[in-house]
Amino acid sequence: ASKLWVPNTDFEVAANWSQNRTPCEGGAVEFPANKMLSVLVRESHAVSDLLLPLDGELVLASGAGFGISDAGSHRDCGTGDPAVFRDPDRFSWYDPHLWRSGDEAPGLFSVDAERVPCRHDDVVFPPSASFRVGLGPGASPVRVRSISALGRTFTSDEDLAAFLASRAGRLRFHGPGVLSVDPEDCADPSGCVCGNAEAQPWICAALLQPLGSRCPQAACHGALRPHGQCCDLCGAVVLLTHGPAFDLERYRARVLGTFLGLPQYQGLQVAVSKVPRPPRLREADTEIQVVLAETGPETGGAGRLARALLADVAEHGEALGVLAVTMRESGAHVGVGS
């Protein structure tokens, strides 16, 4: 699977500027002195003054540029406070908000830890945008299958390290964290665990930072906390013990195609992945987690779908390669009937 980096450091993106708007025509523009960054400029802009960082670059797309006009020559620029580019170091690799899965489908989602690139993911930084990413505290190396940046794909640690040490790399990647690539595919048809369990504290910290570092109250009694999820959710969790015949992709397609499309399951979101099994349990050290999340105000749909999946296993378990199955379900919505 692939994971795409979403945010960019493009000049024309309002969110990259203080006060959430791009510099007004003819105004002053300021980049923070001590923040390294690369900024793509796509269009032509008039400025009265442009303060560059001490280390950084403005990359000009064809037709882009800067014209100069004396301060105050454009009426709409008001008092002339400079537009300040926001701190480009604010984007963290571990922030689930900043990644998009390359194989999203309606009704599918990933638990928080798996929204950040997993061990066997191909990571893509779109070549059409400038970006900067913080690699975190470096407690353990980030391992992925490959990394594509600036139109190049890195599949060996040697090439990747040379790129990260280059000026182009240092403008885009920062922090003590270590990136490592291993082009080995996930060869197991039953799936591979994501491998972000160790990083989950940082992932959850980044996820919850805009919320004051606290999980929002779940809307139901007896909310569930699936493996890899930062906060409780309402719905159901089905856990499958898989045998050698189990195929994760096929099972995910089956849940999606045979069940989720039915009208009674509308509004449900499904995440299917292999997760580590708590160590106290039996022979297998992994299991398949199916998370059924309720997104709307109605309750019970997730429980019904979970029971339908259990019945499916009872009927077709051998063909599916499922040896055993359990489920958990959250309770009634908070505030309903009280």
């Binding site: 032509s44 000009l60 797309a61 800067f66 014209g67 100069i68 006009s69």
Partner: protein, 83 residues
């Protein structure tokens, strides 16, 4: 306003443009250099100036040289031979 001085990318070329009467200026501090593909511009300037001074000196040392010294020396020789 196309008359405003500007810096722009044109098919991968980096172009500095001015309208009719505006300048484009590059200024470093007193210890900074302006380098064009690793050539220090102040050294270019210095060499241009040195060439200019050398030329003045050469002109001074050759001024008054009759255009046709060779022919004059030849004439002198002829006259001597004629004696």
């Amino acid at each position: 306003d196309l008359q405003q001085p500007r810096m722009a990318a044109e098919r991968g070329n980096l172009v500095f443009l001015t309208g009719s009467a505006q300048n484009i200026e590059f200024r470093t501090g007193s210890l900074g250099k302006i380098k064009l593909n690793d050539e220090d511009f102040s050294e270019c300037l210095h060499q241009i100036q040195k060439n200019k001074e050398d030329i003045i000196e050469l002109k001074r040392s050759t001024v008054g040289l009759p255009q046709n010294i060779s022919s004059q020396i030849h004439q002198l020789n002829s006259k001597l031979v004629d004696l």
